[in-house]
Structures are given as C-alpha cells and as structure tokens.
C-alpha cells in the first residue's frame, strides 16, 4: 500500500482539478458578461439535471456510501434507495407547488406561509444546524483524503483541509468565480466510473458497464471466501432498514439546499423534467458505489488481508480510494478518483457555508436584530459567518462522531423531522397555522436528538428514534402534532389561505 508518505501524483492531479474550476469559472464569467447578458444562459433540461446532480453529490455519495456498503453489505443499500427514492417525494409532493409559491429559501417559505417571523427564525436556525452537520461529514471526507494525499494523520489532514477549503471558498468569492455545475458533474462521473471500469477489467468481470456487471463478484465472494455480501438482514433488522430508508427519503424532500434548486430553471415543466435527468445522473453514481464495495471485499480476501472490525471501520470512508490502490490502478487514475471526491466535498461545503452564512445575516440578523443594517454590513457579517461556521464544523470534525454517511443521515433526519412536515402541510393543508408549525418543528428537533439525549436512561427512545433513522416515527409524530395544535388554535390569515388556494393549487382553474 502507498500509505506511507505523500501521494505526489494524486496530489498534483487534485490541485490541477481545483485550479481548473477557478479558471473555467473566471472564463465563463467573462463570457457571460459580454455575450449573454446579466441573466446568464439557459442550460436546458439535461444541463439542469446535471446541475441538480452536482449540487447533490457530496463526500457522502462518493466516499461515505461505498464505505458503509463495504462494512454492511445489503443493509447499506438503504442509503442508495433513500437518496434516490426521496426525489420521487420531492417531485410529486413539492417541486411544482413551492415554485408557484415563489419563495426562494426554506426560512422565507416557512415565514411567509405561516405568516410568522418566529417560525421563519426557527427554520433558519434549523437550516443552519443542518448545514453544520452536513459540512461535518464533508470535513471528515476532506480530512481523510488530505491525510492520505499528504501522508499525514487524520488530525493534520482535517485542519489542513479546512484551511484549504475555506481559502477556496473565499478566493472563489473574491474573484467572482461562476460555478459550472455541468463541468463539475462531468468530472464526478468520469472520475468515479473510469477507475471502476479498469478495476472490473483487471479483476476479470464485465467492464463495459461495471455498475451492472459485478453480480458474479458477489457470488465469487460467497463461493470462494464464504463472505455473504448480499445477506439482507445480517447488519440490521427489517425495521432498521425501512426506518433508515424512509428517513433518508423524507430528509431528501426536506433539505433546504435541495428545495431551493427549483428556482434556477425558467418554468415548472422544465424544472420537473430536469429533476428526472438529475435523478438519472445521481443513479449512475449510486449504481456504481456497491461495485466498489464488492471489489474491495474481494481484493482484501484474495490478498489474505483480514481487518479487525475497528480497523475496517476506521478505513471504511476511504474504501473507494483504497480499492483503487489495492487493485493496482496507476497513480494518475487514483488521482482522478481523489479529485472527484475532493471537488464533490469542496463544492458541497462551499454551497452550504455560503447559504448558512447568508441565512444568518439575512434571516436572523437583518430580520430580527438590526432591520436597518446596510448591504455592506450584511455582506461583512456573511463573510465572518462563513469563517465562524467553518470553525464550528472543524471542531466537531476533529473528533468525528461516526462514518460520513451516518453523520449525513443525521442531517437528513433533522430535515425530515422539521422542514419536511412544515413544507408538506404548508402546501397541502391550508388550515396548518403558525402555532402548529412552531410546535411541530420544535418537537422535530427534540425527536432528532432524543437518542443521545434520553437514550441513556430510556432505552425505548433510542429504539424508536435511532439517531440516523428517527424520521420514520418522527415525521408522522410531528405531522400529527402540527395537525392537532393547528386545529386547537385559530386558522392562519385569510390572505395566506386564499393565496394557497388560488395561486398554488388553483392556477389552472
């Protein structure tokens, strides 16, 4: 293994990839300013889909998923299903309606729909918390990758990575780098699938479509080494599988940075169709992740390596890279794979830190603390908030509480327990009011963290609301509370109900 010392060639390739995004972004900015005017150009449904997919892809998709599949086999497919099936909920229940509602961020929607600045404030706090948890998972991925690239330990890797990623966000912001999400997605998909094709070829499996050709490898694993990768309930019960899967689904349909995607496309019809393309592009990666995990198990078994469970868990989040190393891929190709993972984590962090910071300066500071704040003050506050948020994330990430995908799942559980019910009832039940949504969201926060809070002395709580899967019972509970409290208190203002009926649901009548 090449664990000792820095991995120079991959490091150079990662650096080149990150630099090329800055160069491409600057060129695109120069071009769009002269040729296309301020509005920018329309990128079409497929381009919109690529943008949805690259907005979605993070270290959890490119590293975390492979790691959990490597550890838990079939059980971890709950992540594959949860993170694709959630898009069905998002499309059928929310996409068109939130767009017709015409609010761009989750706090704006909640504040306006429920005619309550307080509800908006709570949802802003929740959104920022979701960003912090989500970023923690990304920082863990960045830290492990940097530790591997520079041949140092995790602690140094995550500190170095944090400095570089914050620097990258600030430099991109100062230079005004335009995000080219189509280019990002192209890098991600090529970097993830090309090494997989070579691995499949080297191992003697169907390499043209490695996503669909690793079935024989599962059987070989069982026949030659007695490793049953596909046993359905070896790592978790039916309840654990379904509750995890359901949580990730409602979380997908409640994540603030995913919900705001629907405003980028000019009309609803195109927004709906680009979501289908987005889901297809996401699935291309998710069909491939299990193949990495199977090949990792196979390569380990063939070389006689047998890791202790603790050691396996420590390296699991880097298993995609390790598989490429074990499979003897050339360093430049491993570099491309690492570049894909690093950029996915970087762009996710950039997006979340910037939204989190602007939510702080706009939804909290401007609306509640100082409504007369000037644009300059708000901007300065945003920049400070980026650094402050990154600092909080770094502190948490120094001692990461779990695997990348597990940490991310907590962010999904929080979204599924709070934002999802607020949007669902906000769109589909005109009677839901501010008392209901405030009671519901606060309950949702308590439910999300009830396992670590109360699980110690109430084991039942930890069984019903497991930390990564609390929304299975959590979201219905929150919905029930929202309905109950809303019915006991006066209805929301007439103009809100009328707007909902006429503009959001009656636009065609």
């Amino acid at each position: 293994m090449t664990d000792a010392g820095p991995n120079l060639i991959p490091l150079i390739i990662v650096t080149l990839a990150l630099a090329s995004f800055i160069v491409a972004g600057l060129r695109a900015r120069a071009r769009s300013a002269s040729d296309y005017g301020i509005g920018g150009r329309y990128i079409g449904r497929i381009g919109g889909g690529a943008a949805i997919a690259s907005n979605w892809m993070s270290a959890a998709s490119l590293l975390g998923m492979g790691g959990l599949l490597y550890l838990h086999g079939y059980y971890a497919l709950a992540y594959v299903i949860g993170w694709t099936g959630g898009y069905v909920l998002l499309l059928v229940l929310m996409a068109g309606q939130i767009r017709r509602f015409g609010k761009y961020t989750a706090p704006d929607f909640v504040g306006d729909r429920y005619a309550s600045p307080m509800a908006g404030l709570i949802s802003a706090g929740i959104s920022i918390t979701i960003s912090i948890i989500y970023c923690t998972a990304q920082f863990k991925g960045i830290g492990m990758l940097f530790a591997w690239l520079f041949g140092t330990d995790y602690r140094n890797g995550v500190i170095l990575g944090a400095v570089v990623v914050v620097g990258y966000v600030i430099i991109s912001g100062v230079l005004g780098v335009a995000r080219n999400q189509q280019l990002q997605y192209t890098l991600l998909i090529v970097s993830f699938i090309l090494p997989l094709m070579v691995l499949a070829y080297k191992l003697g499996y169907f390499w043209v479509l490695p996503q669909f050709g690793y079935g024989v490898a599962i059987q070989d694993l069982k026949r030659e080494f007695g490793i049953n990768f596909a046993a359905p309930f070896a790592s978790g019960s039916l309840f654990q599988w379904i509750s995890l899967c359901f949580t990730l689904m409602v979380g997908t349909a409640g994540l603030p940075h995913v919900l705001s995607r629907f405003y980028v496309v000019p009309n609803i019809r195109d927004a709906r169709w680009s979501l289908v393309w987005g889901l297809f592009f996401i699935a291309l990666i998710y069909w491939s992740a299990p193949a990495y995990a199977v090949f990792a198990r196979l390569l380990e078994a063939r070389s006689g390596v047998s890791l202790s469970p603790a050691a396996a868990e420590r390296m699991a989040d880097l298993v995609v890279i390790k598989t490429a190393v074990m499979g003897g891929l050339p360093p430049w190709m491993i570099g491309i794979l690492a570049a894909g993972a690093v950029s996915a984590a970087f762009f996710t962090v950039a997006g979340l830190l910037i939204t989190g910071a602007s939510s702080f300066s706009h939804d909290i500071y401007y609306r509640f603390i100082n409504p007369r704040a000037s644009e300059t003050t708000k901007m300065a506050l945003s920049k400070a908030a980026v650094v402050a948020l990154a600092g909080v994330v770094l502190v948490v990430a120094l001692d990461p509480p779990g695997l990348i995908a597990e940490i991310t799942a907590v962010a999904f559980a929080l979204a599924g327990n709070t934002i999802f019910p607020a949007f669902l009832l906000g769109i589909w039940w005109g009677r839901a009011n501010r008392h209901g949504v405030i009671a519901g969201m606060l309950t949702g926060v308590v439910i999300t963290f009830s396992a670590p809070l109360f699980g110690g002395f109430l084991p039942l709580v930890a069984d019903i609301f497991p930390l990564t899967s609390s929304a299975f019972f959590g979201a219905p509970t929150v919905i029930a509370i929202m309905v109950g409290v809303s019915l006991l208190t006066p209805p929301p203002p007439d103009e809100v109900r009328r707007f909902l009926a006429e503009q959001v649901h009656g636009h065609m009548d």
């Binding site: 079939y74 497919l77 594959v80 299903i81 694709t84 099936g85 898009y87 069905v88 909920l89 499309l91 059928v92 229940l93 068109g96 996503q211 669909f212 079935g215 024989v216 599962i218 059987q219 049953n228 596909a230 046993a231 359905p232 309930f233 070896a234 039916l238 599988w241 379904i242 899967c245 359901f246 009309n267 609803i268 019809r269 709906r272 169709w273 979501l275 289908v276 889901l279 297809f280 699935a283 998710y286 069909w287 299990p290 589909w428 039940w429 005109g430 009677r431 007439d494 109900r497 009328r498 909902l500 009926a501 006429e502 959001v504 649901h505 009656g506 636009h507 065609m508 009548d509």
Partner: protein, 108 residues
C-alpha cells in the same frame, strides 16, 4: 360567506374541484407505486426468509448473475424511481395541457 370559506380550503384528502383533483389522483398513484415497490418488497423478503440473516428463495434466485433481491434493490429500484418520475411528468404535462386549453392560456 361559509361557502366562500370552503372554496379556498386546501386539503390533499379533499382536493378542490378542477385541476387539483386530477393532480392528486396522479400523485396518489405514483406514491402507491413508490411505497409498494420499496417497502412492500422488503417486507416480502423478510416474510420469505428462512434464516435470521434473511436467506430465502429470493436470495437464492439469481438475475443477471445477481442474487435476485440484491438486483432488485440495488439496480431496479433506482430505475423504478426514474420510471415513476417520468410517468408523473407525462401525466402532469397532459393534465396541465387539458386544463390550459380549457382556460385558453399557455401552461405554467
């Protein structure tokens, strides 16, 4: 006044006459297909399991060299979600066009 209030009540279980009724029907069909394929098949897998690990007829059958249940969950379900989204979009497009023709205005 009472009548007026009912007119602007939004409730997914009592959809308003017109566009919303058709929309809710399409939504419910898609959600049914989503829930049955996803949670239903996992439940069947559990019902048919013969060992604590979940081995059973569905794990012994193979499809494209995959154990059947693994193929279904890892490969078919994401595809099924894409199919559901396509069906939803086709039907909503059609539904929207019918109503926009009635109202004589371009859709969206």
């Amino acid at each position: 006044m009472e009548h007026d209030r009912e007119w602007y009540d939004v409730n997914i279980f009592r959809p308003r006459k017109g566009y919303m009724t058709g929309e809710v029907v399409i939504i419910l069909f898609v959600l049914l297909g989503w829930a049955v394929a996803n949670f239903g098949v996992q439940a069947i897998l559990w019902l048919l399991s013969e060992t604590p690990q979940g081995e059973g007829i569905l794990t012994r059958l193979t499809f494209l060299s995959f154990p059947w249940h693994f193929w279904f969950t890892a490969q078919f379900l994401p595809l099924w979600f894409i199919i559901l989204c396509i069906l939803f979009n086709i039907y909503i497009d059609r539904h929207t066009e019918q109503h926009s023709r009635r109202k004589d205005r371009s859709h969206d």
